[in-house]
Assembly symmetry: C2
Homo-oligomer: 443 residues x 2
């Protein structure tokens, strides 16, 4: 058995506490799997006296001092946020220590700097816990599919919003009631913005796109819409066309010269028969399409102390093993360097609900406007469900074929200008999961 692998833990909240517990409970198994004992040598927290669960001699308020202790082999970071986490991890990587982190915000904002520091010193940088909690997803993308070509990664990567949308779909309640329920049950934070405005999913999309397409994608490259505008009428409209509404993080390789990468987050209609449609409550699931492997899906708990700690422990075992072997794990490659496709040029499909004047010739006018914008209609349907007392005309539901998002948005704006259209009520994108991405000849 080799010398112990010495671990410093930064942060000791729900996830950190579970890591401390697992390091203790699994110490015999860990040593067997790593080939060396795995020893916790320090835990940096803001208020050491508030952590009776950790042996007092391990606690310190001096995170920087802990990271720079020369006997530390691996730094596990569960503080979250950009600073001071960035500086601490850069220090650790520069000193050649392995890093295991769950910090999606930092990775999505400045993963490049971290990866470069890791490459420069030959240190390991692992972050399975940053996306989809316990679900083994980054390792399969990075390693299992390393000899394949990934075309799309699309999934439900935020449990809070999935809980809310599932509650709206199953009980017909509105967004605010469902959010209140999520808050009461502890699925939503007091300030739910990071979840409901899509920022959490946006960071995860950046990490997934970077890995899947060997191209550096940061959060700022990811188009993002949250779920706060989703109404129970949207969900009913989705059901009427055999769909459900999910907040999706979508990363696609778009063919063309050159190939490009689209990364985006928004509430989308997903056909009920698709495996993602039945992922309910706070669960996460990610659907992967690769050239040879075909369609894969990974499903599990996306958050929570124990699940996130499980992912961290898997990474810690890998980094510790690499150190025992004197090597380092496969590193992330940004070799492809594909351009990021702007949202306006990204092929999407719209579901549009319109209130129109109920007389002859109106449909011809509307269809003409679509044609003028170069947008092709897949289905048009007059809604026969009972309408509000105030409704003035007929309701048309139009689903388009794939078109550049900007052309679709322009079509919706132009529809609003028509005298025959009393109102454009609802617009949601419909996702073509499982079908090939097309470039649509857009530059």
């Amino acid at each position: 058995m080799s010398d112990p692998i010495r671990v410093a833990l930064l942060g000791c909240g729900t996830v950190g506490g579970e890591v401390v517990r697992l390091l203790g409970e699994q110490s015999v198994e860990l040593a067997a799997r790593v080939g060396a004992p795995v020893e916790l040598v320090g835990v940096a927290v803001r208020r050491p006296h508030k952590h009776p669960e950790v042996p007092a001699e391990l606690l310190t308020a001096d995170a920087s001092g802990l990271v720079n202790r020369p006997d530390v082999d691996v730094v596990v970071e569960v503080i979250g946020g950009i600073d001071p986490a960035r500086g601490l991890l850069l220090d650790a990587l520069k000193a050649g220590r392995g890093v295991v982190t769950a910090n999606k915000a930092l990775l999505a904002e400045d993963g490049v700097t971290l990866a470069e520091a890791a490459d420069a010193s030959g240190a390991d940088l692992y972050y399975e816990a940053s996306v989809a909690g316990a679900i083994p997803l980054l390792r399969p993308l990075r390693e299992s599919l390393a000899g394949d070509k990934i075309n799309r990664v699309a999934g439900i990567v935020n449990g809070t919003t999935n809980f809310i949308l599932s509650a709206m779909a199953s009980s017909g309640t509105g967004y605010h009631e469902a959010l209140d329920e999520a808050t009461e049950l502890g699925y939503a934070e007091a300030d739910p913005s990071a979840d409901v405005d899509g920022f959490d999913a946006q960071a995860k999309a950046a990490i997934l796109a970077t890995l899947a397409f060997h191209t550096r994608v940061s959060a700022a490259d990811v188009y993002c819409e949250g779920i706060s505008a989703v109404t129970s009428a949207d969900i009913a409209a989705a059901e009427a066309v055999g769909c459900t509404v999910k907040l999706l993080a979508i990363c696609e390789r778009v063919p063309g010269e050159p190939e490009s990468v689209s990364a985006r987050v928004y509430p989308a209609m997903v056909p009920l028969g698709h495996p993602l449609a039945s992922v309910d409550g706070a669960y996460n699931a990610v659907f992967v399409e690769a050239e040879a492997a075909g369609q894969l899906m990974f499903y599990g708990q996306g958050a929570g102390g124990a699940p996130t700690a499980s992912a961290i422990m898997g990474d810690l075992v890998a980094v510790a093993r690499n150190r025992v072997a004197g090597g380092r794990g496969p590193r992330e490659s940004a070799a492809a360097g594909l351009p990021i496709r702007p949202m306006g040029a990204t092929p999407t499909r719209y579901h549009i609900s319109l209130e129109v004047d109920d007389r002859a010739g109106v449909l011809a006018t509307i269809a003409g406007l679509f044609a003028q914008q170069g947008v092709s209609i897949a289905t048009v349907r007059q809604d026969v469900t009972p309408r509000d007392a105030g409704a003035r005309g007929a309701r048309l539901v139009i689903v388009t074929h794939l078109a550049p998002d900007a052309a679709l948005a322009a079509t919706v704006a132009a529809l609003g200008e028509l005298d025959e259209v009393f109102g454009v009520d609802r617009v949601l994108r419909v996702e073509n999961l499982g079908r090939p991405v097309t470039a649509l000849g857009v530059t």
Copy 2:
């Protein structure tokens, strides 16, 4: 860039042909990911003149000569079967060459010998493609969950039988019609025994149990029943209790002193709300329960040339990277060495359908017999669906609580002896996926 990694391919059928294609098409990306060119140096096949798709100078009929060429770094084996694959892979491992194999039969029969040879020479032995085709499953089990404790791995690991059971469930056709359809569509082989009798799933269960519980489990340790006795009446009976029928490979850690491992394959009733229930057609899916990670599911194509080749390529990249780095990947650990629990002592639940004399006191007699056998009844229901013209009495459907399988089997046998029971028609096990395994105090 390092010296090329030189690959020998044994076998060139559907999967091997895809491997040759991917090695060619992805050569630039592979070199970038591995840090060295990956070069195919030979392909051993029985009849070299039958492979116009492979450059003639690479083809040879002398597999042993190819494996023993001193310049070969990695041997990829897709011949299948026990011999001559075993001898060839042992030669390769003894000479320190990395091995990537899809050979589930060999791994399930004699994985121990292969693993020992790999350990002795420090060579890599990877076999992601042996279970669930393209689905990254073994790497997550071995690496991502390395710091967690796995309690159950249960899944649909044979696409042929899942296609047949799905067809029976969706169209109400019988087993033989569904098998004919599967054969016509190419999902079943001319001799379907390996699939329908469960042997393919049995081998995969052995591989999964070995990895999940760090205990060597061979095919002979896995209890196995196939699907040829499943009738459309069984499927209807499952639906009546909110279930569907799936051929499951189940690997469980059973608590007790000592802990033990149960590995088994049989058609089982799965509640419709469970994610495995909606896995239809030729798809595979594996459900994993771990202490910290909670419930995970992996879904995708379990067979086919391209999906299987994708898994092989992922392994090949890992082995090649390890060679470039001068190390080796994490090896399988059999350190836990848990005893294998015999099927009779394994806790299961039965769904039993009985035709009984329709008079007072019969239920009391039957309930008394269950009590005598120490088996607890969960639900009992009189079936009110129309019965065959020849039916003599009432039909009772009984679902038990968990009990040792032998006690359940003894109960069924004893029921058949009762005068009040005209016939015991259908017995299927009901799986408790997602619920804790209990030991039931059985020794």
